[in-house]
Symmetry: C2
Subunit: 334 residues, 2 copies
DNA sequence: CTGAAAGCGCTAACAC
DNA sequence: GTGTTAGCGCTTTCAG
């Protein structure tokens, strides 16, 4: 039951066994390598027998290119991100790149984590749900490693951003709620100082104003969590004139709001109160919620990241992908 | 708005600027490096100014150690895994290691992905929700890279496994359902040929037998999904004598069962039918479900992975961590 | 088409 | 303590 000796087999070993030079082995493993088909065959076959796998580290060293992109994800509790991470990984892999995951706990130093990333010579850093300090942005910029913010943007040089059109989403939510006949509107947001939250709110409020409706309540918290949604709903219903339409800046918040409304506050949705979320995570479609929401184009957003990676020398851009209203059962159709 | 020239600064550059040898720079960046405190200070300061970051690839090459562990995760749609991935990443990072993520789509060749992993000289490969073929197991074993199966085990040499005590979980579910007064029991499983599913079912059936109850229905499918749960519930209720207790081999399946039961089949839970899941994902605690379930000790399981990583030369082991019954509102307390 | 030789950036003896 | 030297495994000119 003991493992075979984990002796690393190198291209030299293969070369010797195949009776060729070491560089021939290298060429055999390079798709465009100038080498006779027959020779390549023989080398590959010997390699397989010996259990040879080219060392990506050595290759990266000499090629000055690691093909690794770093990914830093906060709040994995938002159902939206696992999906994104999955397709991002798959797409990147299909493009010959690998994802290296970085984590940054609440009490940890993000700075520290990011330096680790730099040591691994990542090609770029994709960040979600994380606040990017100027210092960090500068470190990366100086190292020539582009930062790609996902679902957030900041005004830092060398920083790319891929976001959906959050403001439009906010406007759609406003129209949906007004169209459902709501008159006392509330906004329940997450991280107040994030661009995402601000844009969603701004679009919502702007559209409300255009249609002559005031925003009656606005609650915000640093988290996008279920628990916060529950608390927010309870807070909201403490008022004498309670809202009849609630726009939540994430589906997860909306789930909390919905549950509190139905289970704890004995309200009917959408009869007494309409609720609309943002993201369109898989659960939003589940029977228990059937949540009306604004769908983020997650695949297109991942696509946009790939696009940036393909052309990293271009001036930093902010991509703004279109969103879509998905009407389900927490709003009345209009 | 153009990026600064991404000229890589090396330890030689730092050495020159600090007036020391290149190896001094290396030592300055090695915690135990024998070097005068003053010299180190100077070097580090020069390094910072120049924006120097040690190249992990070069280091790994010479040290023959990459500190990278590969992670391959199927079914990210099961809420259980994002959480696992997060803590795994965090823990590994705290141990000076990094996670490299690998993906394998439905139509892709897993073989292919895994060879990529081998090229990156990963220290070990953690795999979840993936069937490990003998071929693959052999490839890794020959390369001296331990495979750590998470939540699954197979009988292959060189393969470690970290699982919870699924059979006990099944037994607990049986007791909970019988305790709730159920008499016609059903099992709704996922991937039939996975050890996890089999063990859960086996424990359930065994305990049922011990208490003199027969298993009335057993449905299985290749997926652990919500949709499958819905379909299963509908199938189950087509029978003349419908079950009054259902054990689902994952929470996600249970959510589908519950929703179908309540929304589509007009059954009351737990009055008409009791339901119990497995995993205890965050949503199980949400008001909309309040699902009784068997909790997997995810943190302990991650811990066990770390443990194996610390001692990879030990004979492959199968860790079997204790589970716990969490009674909520889809069963009647007993 | 193939082999020889020169490094990629770093660590680890080995002398001083 | 510090510098010098020899590679880690590979790609890439450069000859042939």
């Amino acid at each position: 039951m003991s493992l075979p000796p984990p002796k690393k087999v190198t291209s030299h070993d293969v070369a010797k066994a195949a009776g060729v030079s070491q560089s021939a082995v290298s060429r055999a493993f390079t798709p465009e390598g100038k080498i006779a088909a027959k020779t390549r065959q023989r080398i590959l076959s010997v390699a397989r027998q010996l259990g040879y796998h080219p060392n990506a580290f050595a290759r990266s060293l000499v090629q000055q290119k690691t093909n690794i992109v770093g990914v830093l994800m906060g709040s994995i509790d938002n159902q939206f991100y696992p999906k994104v991470l999955e397709t991002l990984t798959a797409q990147l892999q299909a493009n010959g790149r690998q994802v290296m995951l970085f984590s940054v706990g609440p009490d940890e130093d993000i700075e520290d984590t990011l330096l680790r990333a730099l040591q691994y010579q990542i090609e770029a850093m994709v960040m979600t749900s994380v606040t990017l300090s100027s210092t960090v942005a500068k470190t990366f910029s100086e190292a020539g490693v582009p930062v790609i913010l996902f679902n957030r943007y900041v005004d830092e040089p060398g920083t790319f951003a891929v976001v959906c059109d959050n403001a439009s989403g906010g406007r759609m939510a406003a129209d949906a709620l007004i169209g459902a006949g709501c008159e006392r509107l509330a906004f329940v947001g997450g991280t107040p100082n994030s661009s995402t939250n601000q844009d969603r709110k701004r679009g919502f409020v702007e559209r409300l104003a255009e249609r002559g409706v005031a925003l009656s309540f606005a609650l915000e918290d640093k988290s996008y969590s279920y628990g916060w949604g529950q608390r927010a709903a309870e807070l909201l219903l403490k008022n004498k004139a309670i809202p009849d339409g609630i726009f939540c800046s994430s589906d997860t918040i909306a789930f909390g709001v919905l549950d509190a409304l139905r289970t704890r506050l004995a309200k009917r949705v959408p009869d007494d109160v309409c609720v609309i979320g943002f993201d369109d995570v898989p659960m939003a479609a589940w029977d228990a919620y059937a949540l009306s929401t604004i769908r983020q184009p997650s695949d297109a957003m991942v696509e946009a990241v790939l696009e940036i990676l393909k052309n990293p020398d271009a001036a930093p851009v902010k991509r703004d992908l279109p969103v879509q209203l998905i009407q389900r059962n927490t709003t009345r159709p209009y």
